[in-house]
C-alpha cells in the first residue's frame, strides 16, 4: 500500500468518550475553506488486514498506472471533504448511495452538529465513482453510519475550528473568546461574522494536516434528536430527481425485449426493419441479453419491443423450477453431527421461496457513450465496480468513464449490481447515441436480481432443563457477491476466523450469523449450490431466514420444556442488550395478554450490525380476517399490531431510525405471509405488483410502534436492515401460536398461485387503456 494512503486518522475509539480525543484531518488548498478526513480504509492497519484475507484484491490491482500518478500528485484526493461556501452553506459529496434509508440526512446532521450550522445550510450530494476510495465506496451491510460517523464529524469540526481561527486572527482576539452558533461566530464583545463571510479567508494555499476535538455526546443538539429528511420537501412536491427524471440531452427512452428464460440470449431478430419504421422509433440494437429499442417515448418503446420477432438462445437456468431447485438444495445439505442419545430433540427444516428485491423505481440508467469517453447516471451502491467493469466492456480507460450516482427509488440490495448501467452503456455504444434505458416492471421481476431460494435445517437437543446442542445447516442457491468487498469486511478482517478456502459467501455468513442463546454445542453452517440465477443480497441477506428458523425452534424448545416463549428467552439469552430490548418489548407490547382464539402474539430477537432488537407482533388468523375480500389482493392472516424495540447503540436520527424499523417490519410481513417468486421452467411467473404481493395497505399493521432505547454503546449501529430478521421471526412465531401449526414453508401462501401469469412473450405486457373507468 502506498504510504500516502496509510492511516492519517484515528478511528475505532472506545465507547462514550470520543469527544475528549483529537482527530486528524486536512485543510485542503481550495478557493474557499475545504476540510478533509479519511474514511474506513484508513481506519485500520491496512497491511495486517490485507494479510488476513488472502483473496483480498490489493488496491494496486484496481488502479492503472495513470491513476496512481494522479494520486501521487494529489496525496489527499482519497479523502472525503467538507466545503464551506461563501453563501454560508457547507457542502459535502458523500461516497454512498441514498436509496431511501436517510443516509444523506444523517450525514447532514453530523456536519450541522460539529459546525454549529443550521441543518438547512448543509448540502449533501452523492459523489461520482471515485476509484481512489478503493473499498470505501460501497453502500451495504448497514455500514454507512458506522463507517463515516467519525470522519465526517472530524472534517466538520476542523472546518469550525479553522473558521474560528480565521476570525480570531482578523479581529486580533484569542480564539477562546469566540463562540459559534447557527453559522455565526461571535466575540464576547458582540462582534459577529457569518461563516460565509470567512469562507475565502479561511481557505489555505497549501494542504495542511491538522486536528480537532469532537463534541462530546452530552453537548449534542442535533445528533440524537429526531429530524426530518433533508429531501422531504422535494419529495412531496414531486421535485426529487431519480435517474428516470434526468434531462440529459438526446438521451431518449430505451427499453429491451427480453428472452422467455433467465439470461437467455439473442439468436436472431427477424423483423428489425419493420420495427425501425414504427412510430417514434429511432434505433434498434441487439444486446447481450435482449434487443433494445430507442424511441421518443417509453410508450412507443413498449409497442416496438412487443412487435419484435426474436429467436432466442438458451438461458442459464432453463428447466429449473421451485421443485427442481428444492430437490437440489436438499441433496446439498451439510450433515448434522450431534446424535440423539439420552436427550430429546427437535428436528425441523424450513424452506424459503425465491423473493424479489425489486424497488418501486425500476432499474434505470442514462448512458452517453462516445468513441473516446462515456458518462453514466444511475443509482449505484458500488459505483467503482460499475466503472471498472463498464469501462472494460466499452474498451475505454477507467478514467474516461464518468459514473454519476443518482438518487435511488429504493434498493433493498438491487443497486449493489449495475446490470442496467452496463446494459445502457452497451445500447448507447451500439446505437451511437445517448439513451435513457429503463427496465419494465415485468423485466424487474422476471430478469432482475432475486433473493435465492434456501432451506434451513435445525436440530436442537435438550435434557434436564438445558439445551445441549443447536445445529443449523443453511443451504441456499448461491448469492452473487461479485460486487466485491466493502469496508465492512476489510475493517474487521484482522479479527476474522477466516482462512484457507472459505468462500466469500461463507465469510459473509460467518460474519453475520451467530446464535444469541446459551445452547451448548452450537454450529451454524452454510452450503450453496451453484445455480446461475440472478441473485443478490436482499435486505438483511441470510439473517431473516436463519433467524426465523432459529426463533421458531426456540418456541418449540420452550413448549417442550414447559416454558413461556419469553420466559425461555430470558433464561437462555446471552447478551445484556438483547435481554433489555426483550424486557422492554414485553412491557410495552403487553406480552401474554388475553386474546381470542385464532389471534396470538409472537416475539423474535436479533443482534447484528452491533445493534440489538426485539419485535413483538399480534396476528389475526381468524376466518373472517383471513378470508376478507379485496379486489386482486392477497389478504390472509393480518398482523394487526407490531412493536419494535431497538437498541442502536446511539440513534443518530431517531425519526429516520424509526422509519427503517417500520420498513423492515413490512418487509418481514411480506416474506412471512405473501411475497415470493414462483420459479417455473427457468423464469419467475410474477410480472407485476399484483402478482408479487409485497405488503399493501390491507396487510400492514393497524398499530405500529417503535421504541428506541436510550444510548448504550454510544456508537451508532447499522439500522437499515436490522428489523427484517427479528420481525420475520416474530410473525412466523405468532402464526404458529395462533394456528397451532408451525409453518415450514415461507411465505405461507406460496403453495397457492394467486394470479394469472402474464405471457412470457412478449416480455413486457401492454399498458391497459381503460384507466378512465376507475377514476375516483
Amino acid at each position: 500500500m502506498p504510504a500516502h494512503r496509510r492511516s492519517p486518522l484515528r478511528v475505532d475509539p472506545g465507547p462514550h468518550d470520543v469527544g475528549r480525543r483529537r482527530f486528524l484531518g486536512y485543510l485542503i488548498a481550495a478557493p474557499t475553506l475545504a476540510v478533509a478526513a479519511g474514511v474506513g480504509w484508513e481506519s485500520i492497519d491496512a497491511e495486517s488486514a490485507s494479510a488476513a484475507i488472502p483473496s483480498l484484491p490489493l488496491p494496486e490491482e484496481i488502479f492503472d498506472l495513470g491513476d496512481l500518478q494522479d494520486l501521487a500528485a494529489a496525496p489527499t484526493s482519497h479523502l472525503i471533504s467538507v466545503q464551506v461556501n461563501s453563501d454560508g452553506t457547507a457542502s459535502f459529496a458523500v461516497p454512498r448511495a441514498e436509496v431511501g434509508q436517510g443516509m444523506t440526512t444523517a450525514v447532514a446532521m453530523m456536519i450541522a452538529e460539529e459546525m454549529d450550522l443550521p441543518l438547512n445550510k448543509v448540502v449533501v450530494s452523492l459523489a461520482d465513482a471515485r476509484p481512489e476510495l478503493v473499498f470505501n465506496q460501497l453502500t451495504g451491510g448497514s455500514n454507512s453510519m458506522r463507517s463515516i460517523y467519525l470522519p465526517v464529524r472530524t472534517a466538520a469540526a476542523i472546518a469550525r475550528q479553522q473558521l474560528m481561527s480565521t476570525a480570531a486572527a482578523q479581529w486580533r482576539v484569542p480564539a477562546s473568546e469566540l463562540s459559534t452558533k447557527d453559522g455565526l461566530i461571535t466575540h464576547k464583545s458582540g462582534r459577529q461574522a457569518s461563516y460565509g463571510s470567512l469562507a475565502r479567508a479561511a481557505a489555505v494555499p497549501q494542504s495542511t494536516r491538522t486536528s480537532a476535538e469532537l463534541k462530546p455526546q452530552s453537548k449534542f443538539t442535533v445528533l440524537g434528536t429526531p429530524q426530518n429528511r433533508i429531501d422531504a420537501y422535494d419529495i412531496v412536491t414531486g421535485r426529487k430527481t431519480f435517474a428516470m427524471d434526468l434531462d440529459v440531452p438526446n438521451a431518449k427512452p430505451t427499453m429491451v425485449r427480453r428472452p422467455p428464460t433467465i439470461n437467455g440470449t439473442v439468436k436472431s431478430v427477424n423483423n428489425t426493419d419493420s420495427v425501425k419504421n414504427m412510430p417514434g422509433v429511432t434505433d434498434v440494437a441487439v444486446l447481450t441479453n435482449g434487443v433494445a429499442v430507442r424511441g421518443e417515448t417509453f410508450g412507443q418503446c413498449i409497442d416496438a419491443i412487443r412487435a419484435l420477432d426474436v429467436t432466442w438462445g438458451p438461458g442459464t437456468v432453463d428447466g429449473e423450477s421451485d421443485e427442481t431447485v428444492l430437490k437440489k438444495l436438499k441433496a446439498a445439505e451439510l450433515p448434522l453431527v450431534v446424535p440423539n442419545l439420552l436427550s430429546a430433540s427437535i428436528d425441523a427444516q424450513f424452506t424459503f421461496a425465491f423473493a424479489s428485491n425489486s424497488p418501486l423505481e425500476p432499474d434505470c440508467a442514462v448512458a452517453d457513450v462516445r468513441s473516446d469517453r462515456a458518462e453514466i447516471w444511475s443509482s449505484l451502491k458500488v459505483p467503482i465496480d460499475a466503472q471498472q467493469e463498464i469501462a472494460t466492456m466499452l474498451g475505454l480507460p477507467q478514467n474516461a468513464l464518468k459514473v454519476h450516482v443518482t438518487q435511488g427509488g429504493g434498493s433493498f440490495g438491487r443497486h449493489l449490481f449495475h446490470d442496467v448501467a452496463s446494459e445502457a452503456a452497451e445500447a448507447s455504444k451500439k446505437m451511437g447515441k445517448p439513451v435513457k434505458l429503463m427496465w419494465s416492471r415485468t423485466d424487474d421481476f422476471r430478469q432482475g436480481r432475486v433473493h435465492p431460494m434456501c432451506i434451513s435445517r435445525v436440530r436442537a437437543t435438550y435434557a434436564a432443563g438445558n439445551v445441549l446442542s443447536y445445529e443449523q445447516r443453511h443451504t441456499s442457491v448461491q448469492t452473487d457477491f461479485s460486487h466485491g468487498l466493502g469496508e465492512m469486511i476489510t475493517a474487521t478482517a484482522a479479527k476474522l476466523p477466516v482462512g484457507g478456502n472459505l468462500s466469500f459467501a461463507e465469510t459473509i455468513f460467518e460474519l453475520t450469523q451467530s446464535s444469541p442463546y446459551n445452547f451448548g454445542v452450537t454450529t451454524q453452517l452454510l452450503n450453496e449450490i451453484p445455480l446461475k440465477f440472478n441473485t443478490g443480497s436482499m435486505r438483511n441477506i441470510y439473517s431473516p431466514n436463519v433467524v426465523c428458523a432459529q426463533e421458531l425452534v426456540v418456541d418449540q424448545l420452550a413448549a417442550k420444556m414447559g416454558k413461556d416463549p419469553v420466559e425461555f428467552r430470558r433464561e437462555f439469552l446471552k447478551d445484556a442488550r438483547l435481554k433489555a430490548v426483550l424486557e422492554k418489548a414485553v412491557e410495552v407490547g403487553n406480552w401474554g395478554k388475553s386474546l381470542p382464539n385464532g389471534v396470538a402474539q409472537g416475539i423474535g430477537v436479533h443482534s447484528e450490525y452491533r445493534g440489538a432488537i426485539a419485535s413483538l407482533v399480534e396476528i389475526d388468523c381468524r376466518p373472517e380476517t383471513v378470508n376478507r375480500k379485496i379486489r386482486d389482493a392477497v389478504t390472509g392472516p393480518r398482523v394487526t399490531k407490531a412493536l419494535i424495540v431497538v437498541d442502536p447503540g446511539f440513534a443518530i436520527n431517531p425519526r429516520g431510525l424509526e422509519a427503517q424499523m417500520i420498513g423492515g417490519m413490512n418487509d418481514a410481513i411480506a416474506i412471512a405471509l405473501t411475497s415470493s417468486l414462483h420459479m417455473k421452467n427457468g423464469i419467475p411467473l410474477e410480472g407485476s405488483w399484483d402478482n408479487y404481493f409485497y405488503t399493501r395497505e390491507w396487510n400492514t399493521p393497524l398499530e405500529m410502534k417503535v421504541v428506541v432505547m436510550p444510548t448504550t454503546t454510544g456508537q451508532p449501529s447499522g439500522a437499515g436492515e436490522l428489523a427484517v430478521a427479528p420481525s420475520l421471526a416474530a410473525v412466523a412465531c405468532a402464526y404458529a401460536r395462533a394456528t397451532g401449526t408451525m409453518p415450514t414453508y415461507f411465505p405461507i401462501n406460496h403453495g397457492t398461485l394467486g394470479f394469472e401469469p402474464y405471457p412470457l412473450e412478449p416480455s413486457t405486457p401492454q399498458s391497459p387503456t381503460d384507466g378512465l373507468g376507475n377514476a375516483n
Binding site: 412531496v236 414531486g238 421518443e296 417515448t297 407485476s688 405488483w689 405488503t695 376507475n774 377514476a775
Partner: protein
C-alpha cells in the same frame, strides 16, 4: 400527427403525438412533467396517480386521445394551486410526519390520499381504516403506517 389539447396544472397545453400513447409518457417524455412516476405501467402500483377533473386516475393506462380539450389534468406539481397555497394540507401533513423514505411513490400516494379524503367528505363521513385499506398504492419502503397517520391528519385540514 394528431394534436392533443388539455389543461395541465392550470395551463392549456398542446402536444403532437399518436393517439394511443399513454398520457403518462406524454406528461413525462414529451412535456417534462416528472412528478407522476412509472412503477409498472399496468395500473397496479399507482405511483403515477394524478387527478382528472379532481378525481384520482392513473395516466399510465389512459391513451392521450381519451383526454378531452375540456379536461383538467393535475399532477403533484399542480396540487398546491388547487387550494391556492404553496403546499396542499396533505403535503404539509406528509412533511409533519416525515412520511417519505426513498420518495418514489410519494407523489402518487399524496394524490391518491387527497382524492380518497375528498371522496369520504363527499359521502359526508370521516376517513376510516377501511378506507385506508382500499388504497392500492405500493410503498416498497413500507412506510404505510406513517402514510395512514398523515392521511388522517391531512384530512382534518382539508
Amino acid at each position: 400527427m394528431p394534436t392533443h389539447t388539455f389543461t395541465l396544472n392550470g395551463k392549456q397545453v398542446s402536444v403532437d403525438c399518436p393517439d394511443d400513447v399513454r398520457l403518462l409518457w406524454v406528461l413525462r417524455d414529451l412535456l417534462g412533467v416528472h412528478g407522476p412516476k412509472y412503477g409498472c405501467g399496468l395500473n397496479v402500483c399507482k405511483s403515477c396517480t394524478s387527478h382528472l377533473n379532481g378525481k384520482a386516475f392513473n395516466p399510465c393506462s389512459v391513451p392521450v386521445s381519451k383526454i378531452a380539450p375540456t379536461d383538467e389534468v393535475t399532477t403533484i406539481e399542480g396540487l398546491p394551486a388547487t387550494v391556492g397555497k404553496d403546499l396542499h394540507p396533505m403535503q404539509e401533513a406528509w412533511l409533519e410526519r416525515d412520511v417519505a423514505q426513498c420518495g418514489y411513490c410519494q407523489p402518487g400516494q399524496i394524490m391518491a390520499a387527497v382524492a380518497k379524503v375528498k371522496q369520504a367528505k363527499a359521502d359526508g363521513r370521516q376517513i376510516t381504516d377501511d378506507d385506508l385499506d382500499e388504497i392500492r398504492n405500493i410503498c416498497r419502503c413500507g412506510t404505510y403506517s406513517r402514510i395512514r397517520e398523515a392521511i388522517k391528519a391531512g384530512a382534518k385540514k382539508m
